[in-house]
């Protein structure tokens, strides 16, 4: 087998010549392929592709930023579909020399960005009609509902988004992170919008700033009782947990997850109403 055109990493949403065997690098792309009913075309996934559970049974070509050239090629894909951060660049350069078509899907951390991402993947695979119908039926109405809830009068809470934190260190989302973008989706202001990237923060900073919400993002969204009460005495701070992949993956489930969380938080913020 040899590929028709010389491959290179493209970021354009144009239909490809052959999308019968797809290697996926990125959990949200895998989710989108399942959503579009194209899961039978997936021949390999990366380790961030954990949803739906059946995706975990597919052959793994490593972490999205540590892909294996030969491992990818051994699955004989006709297309590599990845997030824009797939890598390492040296491996992509090797695949490019082999001539394997690769598309890196642009990532934009908004509800509109998610829908664009779905449309882009669908267009590459020739499934645009299906995507349009899906978006029209479910995601667009959810986005409208999300916008409405976010625009509710007086809703401008201060929040912190903490990643995992099982190791004991609180790693908070700063500016230019998917975490801050998620906070923006639920209309919350990020307490740590001054720091850049994901950075460890001190619990004291959080306690003294008295945010309205501390949101733990972790796989499975489970939270222990002591964690739930850890910021309780800071006067009005509420602790909730959300699933990492669902929220920060910016895949098809993220809009619903944001809306659910927003409704839950608004319910907690005004228990008397």
């Amino acid at each position: 087998m040899l590929f028709a055109a010389a491959g290179s990493v493209q970021a354009i949403c144009e239909p490809v010549f052959d999308s019968s065997r797809i290697a996926v690098a990125g959990g949200s792309i895998t989710e989108i392929l399942y959503l579009l009913g194209a899961e039978e075309r997936i021949v390999a996934v990366d380790t961030t592709s954990t949803y739906p559970a059946t995706a975990r049974a597919l052959p793994s070509v490593g972490y999205v930023r540590a892909l294996s050239t030969e491992g990818l090629l051994s699955m004989q894909p006709t297309l590599v579909l990845g997030e824009e951060d797939m890598g390492p660049p040296e491996v992509l350069a090797q695949l490019e020399r082999i001539g394997l078509p690769m598309v890196a899907i642009d990532e934009e951390h908004t509800a509109e960005g998610i829908m664009r991402k779905i449309r882009c993947v669908a267009r590459i695979l020739g499934l645009s009609q299906k995507a349009d119908a899906l978006i029209l039926d479910t995601l667009a109405p959810l986005t409208v509902e999300l916008d409405r809830a976010r625009g509710r009068a007086g809703w401008q809470p201060l929040a912190v988004l903490i990643l995992d934190a099982r190791s004991g260190t609180l790693v908070a989302a700063g500016k230019e992170t998917s975490g801050q973008a998620f906070l923006r989706m639920i209309g919350a202001q990020n307490l740590f919008s001054d720091i850049s990237g994901w950075k460890p923060v001190s619990p004291e900073t959080i306690l003294s700033a008295r945010p309205d919400f501390v949101i733990f993002s972790r796989p499975g969204a489970d939270i222990t009782a002591s964690e739930a009460s850890s910021f309780a005495f800071a006067g009005g701070t509420d602790v909730v947990a959300v699933d990492t992949v669902e929220t920060l993956g910016f895949g098809p489930r993220t809009i619903k997850a944001a809306l659910d969380l927003l409704v839950k938080l608004q319910g907690r913020a005004q228990p008397d109403e």
Partner: protein, 342 residues
């Protein structure tokens, strides 16, 4: 002097056959490493099958540079390990244990992180990364050497303690860069530090391998001086060795060898410790045997480690340093146990 010469020569015959055997083993390992991998490649179809274009490309563009990089890095680390052990007169001087590899990694990481925020550096990355890695390795080696000049000959325990301190210092530097790094650079760093030969390509390989070759060659020429250094520095001086010159050469050459390897492959641990020891067990301590044989065995072991790293969990890969350290660390413990008087 006479008896020493006799001892060195008495081993001449078996040493040459051992070298020949190692060279054959290295070639065999190289061929095995070229033919085995996630993608099935059969020799027959390579030559007879018109459709084998892809397989030929995988062989030539992906596997071959990778195997060459593994072999050269392994040889370089083993030779640098053997030479540093000779220089410090200490069997535990190993590039990653005493901090030379960390120094190289610190140099390289500074380029990865700063390069990500200074786009001007980006086109220069293929040159600035190896240069920074070599500079970092040189800095650490010079520091170690200066420390040993100031505070006298290192005992086995001292060099390990100094190594811990140097590694800790390098870890601070690496930590600072990790803190400064953006999300993407951070995740790149994590895997980069664990070592992999998967990033090899001919255009980055050729400058690095040339540097390794150029910096390794003087070490092969210094074997007699290293032997005489074992008697002590003043003894070596009276036997006509320009001790300062030899030391400077060993430090710069081994640091450049390690730095060039680290720049492309990240940190690959314990090769420089295990290989020279295995060779000494069989061929004795004469550097004229230890250095060339270490180069061969280092290449063999590293190619095998890389082969395991890319086939054990295919189609995914594990970092090669997991394999070398999993084999090397127990060996290290065994060395310590053996050295302790009961």
């Amino acid at each position: 002097m006479n008896s020493a010469a006799q001892v060195l020569h008495a081993r001449g015959q078996p040493a040459w056959s051992a070298h020949a055997a190692l060279a054959c083993a290295m070639l065999a390992t190289g061929v095995l490493a070229l033919l085995a991998g996630a993608v099935d490649i059969s020799i027959k179809s390579l030559f007879h099958d018109a459709d084998a274009v892809l397989q030929r490309m995988i062989l030539l563009e992906i596997r071959a540079p990778r195997v060459v990089l593994a072999a050269c890095t392994g040889a370089g680390l083993a030779v640098a390990g053997a030479a540093l052990q000779g220089l410090f007169r200490n069997p535990l001087a190993e590039p990653s244990l005493i901090g030379v590899s960390s120094g190289a990694a610190l140099g390289a990481i500074s380029v990865i992180v700063l390069g990500a925020s200074l786009p001007i550096l980006q086109p220069l990355a293929s040159y600035s990364l190896p240069i920074a890695a070599v500079a970092g390795a040189c800095l650490v080696t010079l520091f170690l050497y200066g420390f040993s000049l100031r505070y006298g000959q290192f005992g086995i325990v001292t060099i390990l303690l100094v190594g811990i301190a140097v590694n800790a210092l390098a870890a601070v530097g690496i930590g600072i860069f990790q803190y400064l790094a953006n999300d993407a650079a951070l995740r790149t760093l994590t895997f980069w530090m664990m070592g992999s030969f998967g990033r090899a390509s001919w255009d980055t390989l050729i400058p690095a391998v040339s540097l390794m070759a150029v910096s390794m060659l003087p070490l092969f020429a210094l074997t007699r001086s290293l032997d005489l250094l074992q008697l002590g520095e003043s003894e070596a001086f009276h036997l006509g060795i320009d001790v300062r010159q030899v030391k400077r050469c060993v430090i710069i050459c081994s640091a450049a060898t390690v730095g060039a390897g680290v720049a492309l492959a990240g940190i690959v641990g314990f090769v420089g410790l295990v290989v020279p020891h295995l060779i000494r067990l069989v061929l004795g301590a004469g550097h004229r045997y230890v250095i060339p044989a270490s180069a061969l065995l280092g290449a063999i072991l590293t190619m095998l480690a890389d082969l395991l790293a890319r086939t054990l969990f295919a189609p995914a890969e594990i970092p090669v340093s997991l394999i070398t350290s999993a084999l090397g660390a127990p060996f290290f413990l065994w060395l310590i146990a053996r050295a302790r008087p009961r």
